[in-house]
Symmetry: C2
Subunit: 434 residues, 2 copies
């Protein structure tokens, strides 16, 4: 199907992805990259390592899209059967490519040497021969790891190309760059036109308030679709995310939508340029030359690790203390023993003492203390599971936050981490405004 | 299609999932739960919030499976259109269910009160009315959050049921429990037969060695498929995972496979009962009444947070120190300044000093020190990006580990965390054997 705006689909193979043992990162990567190129990814299909399921998914998607990309199933084991199945669907037979086989052999030898494996060459050889089988008429994409990719059109002429890529994101991403230069892929990309995407992030309001605002925007300017805006909203971990896709002629309508969001939600809008709260906080700390230290109980390092997610974070993350046991709160953070006895570890007072202790012992501008009941055990009627006290201590004093969160342990800990980042963001925004 | 063993498909809706802003947890949950019930999930399809894409995916899957489950798109905003589209595909019209509407209204009022929202009732009302529209002839699944689910067969009689569930996992999971009791779903489950799943995890060997072993098993006993074993292998973060699905008559063949894995890989096999390295380490620490403390630089809290992922981890995780800045390594962990100057922060010596410092300051049985170059910047010819030193210090001395990891920053940090867990696992296994 060749529509005005080409569309693509992604097939992710692997029983480990289907069952959630591995989280797919390739579908999102390809969706975003193709959007930038003006190609809309309409669906991502995850199938297990089974011949029939993969063949059926390919057949279905080839009938509905202009380009199909597969990820995974190029390894040396017998359950890696993507190339073979794609060849079958496109009506092609596999052939041995001896020159390619030698290049794969060289890569395998190189990796074996670098990793210090003692695996005998003959054990590797069967995998090498398998990985270098390519369909007749395929354009080969040179291996990044040990598996080559291919671009393949149907043997009988007309039909969309399939791009076959390896599963590891570190291999798929560079190989996709090469695929963009392939003639068959370029033929699809040539028909694409720009799709823009804008993201606004808002901290705090319920989704229904956003729905009401969107209805007001429609009452004023007509249905969003007719304004050329494809708006999706998503509430996660307390952050409302409004993502809008539009073609360039709808830019004015999009600007009006962003203005309406700012007007309605004010300072709750923390980014209208796709920045995350992590970005906003990091930029503010860097701009002010300030630093942060953490004192964590229930999050136990998640907050510090989140700061360190970003390259260059050593400029503002000096260190932190994970004080899971009460004795560690006393020894490492200087929380007074009597406070733990009188008000308990999960309290506003202890959160503040942890923040102050982290700030002082690490010597940072700001200290953040976190203490709570992550569950599933340890809750009491007065201090139920989900009760968390966060406190920020900085040059202008203490900024406390009490949370009552629902959900399982990991959810409580993650939402606490995000709320702590927003607490620092709000402090930094006020400091900048003051 | 009603096959001997029923199969199911999952449709995950949401542009935020398609583009990777939200990671789907519902497909894996449903796949695992249905497997336990003897229903095989053949594919998971992710579609954006678009009417045509969702309708086309449903039509395709209804023709190939015995049960289709959707997640998401039940919210109050206009891009939440799953119920409407499913009704259309099944040939049903939507009707207002006033009693259900009142129950949804009560739930919304309750949540608004508990969260302290000040949103006016009329803003909420449009969403309530939308969420309580259900298709004619649907079985309603009572809301867990504010959205009811439905189970719906085609208006024209024969055809698989569609189960429509909300997107948030905290709502979907309990509602799926209710759906299992629904007559239409029970009709599918009644045709199911037991599928077992076994998982063996191995630390260290290259995937090709596993492929060679599997070929040996096939040489001895015939093709795995003919032995009744569906084996998938997956290498991730250095751990090789072998997952096998089989019906009860193939149990002996499965046991033989597990025995062959143990024979070939020995102590590298760290679990043959689906336990993770985290499980193995936690159980060993609990059994021995021992504890751990962390001193982290490049992982910056990830290792401590990973210990704390498990409920009850306060029994063995006492605390940790995140020493991102060099001064913090000196102040918080007692790393000698001269060591930092002579051999540098990323060195075996400093990793050991960090481990010893964490152990001593926190008062734990074991201390683990981690220091490395996570990148993308900070690498030098002698200490390139990906070089990491880990050290475990315990009653029997120091156990060092040098890693040279590839991949981006997050990959280096995650692989380091996993390698550190395996270092502790190996120490605990030796201590138990000694």
């Amino acid at each position: 199907m060749a529509s005005a705006t080409p569309t693509a689909a992604v097939v992710v193979t692997g029983t480990e992805v289907l069952t959630g043992r591995v989280v797919d990162r390739n579908g999102p990567f390809l969706a975003e990259r193709l959007r930038q190129l003006g190609v809309d990814v309409g669906r991502v299909v995850v199938v297990g390592d089974r011949r029939d399921d993969l063949a059926s998914a390919l057949t279905y998607l080839l009938a509905e899209h202009d380009l199909v990309i597969t990820s995974g199933g190029l390894g040396p084991t017998a359950d890696d059967l993507t190339v073979e199945v794609v060849a079958g669907v496109q009506g092609r037979t596999l052939r041995r490519d001896e020159a390619l086989e030698q290049r794969v052999r060289d890569r395998v030898a190189d990796i074996t040497r670098r990793r210090g494996w003692s695996t005998p060459g003959e054990v590797m050889e069967a995998g090498i021969r398998k990985q270098a089988l390519v369909p007749e008429g395929a354009h080969v994409l040179e291996p990044v790891g040990t598996a080559p990719g291919v671009v393949l059109t149907p043997a009988d002429g007309d039909g969309p190309p399939v791009v076959v890529l390896p599963g590891p994101p570190g291999e798929l991403q560079p190989m996709w760059q090469a695929a963009e230069e392939d003639d068959l892929v370029r033929g699809v990309l040539a028909r694409a036109s720009e799709i823009r995407q804008g993201t606004v992030r808002i901290w705090g309001p319920p989704e229904a308030e956003l729905a009401a605002l969107l209805r007001d925007v429609e009452d004023a300017g007509g249905p969003l679709e007719e304004q050329g805006l494809e708006v999706t909203t998503c509430l996660r971990k307390g952050e409302l995310e409004v993502v809008t896709r539009y073609a360039p002629p709808a830019a004015a309508a999009y600007d009006a939508l962003v203005a309406a969001l700012h007007e309605r939600f004010g300072a709750q809008v923390f980014a209208d340029d796709a920045r995350s709260v992590d970005d906003v906080v990091a930029e503010a700390l860097l701009a002010r030359g300030e630093s942060v230290a953490t004192g964590e109980s229930c999050t136990a390092g998640m907050l510090a690790a989140r700061f360190a997610d970003r390259p260059g974070s050593s400029a503002y993350l000096l260190g932190g203390l994970v004080t899971y046991a009460n004795q560690a709160k006393v020894d490492l953070l200087g929380v007074p023993q009597h406070l733990l006895e009188s008000v308990g570890a999960v309290s506003a007072e202890v959160a503040e003492a942890m923040a102050a202790g982290a700030r002082e012992r690490v010597g940072a501008t700001y200290g953040i203390g976190v203490t709570g009941v992550a569950g599933p055990d340890g809750g009491t009627p007065e201090k139920p599971v989900g009760l968390v006290h966060v406190c920020l201590v900085g040059p202008s004093g203490a900024r406390p936050l009490e949370l009552q969160l629902g959900g399982p342990r990991d959810e409580v800990r993650l939402r606490t981490t995000i709320a702590a980042l927003h607490l620092l963001r709000e402090e930094l925004a006020e400091a900048a405004g003051a």
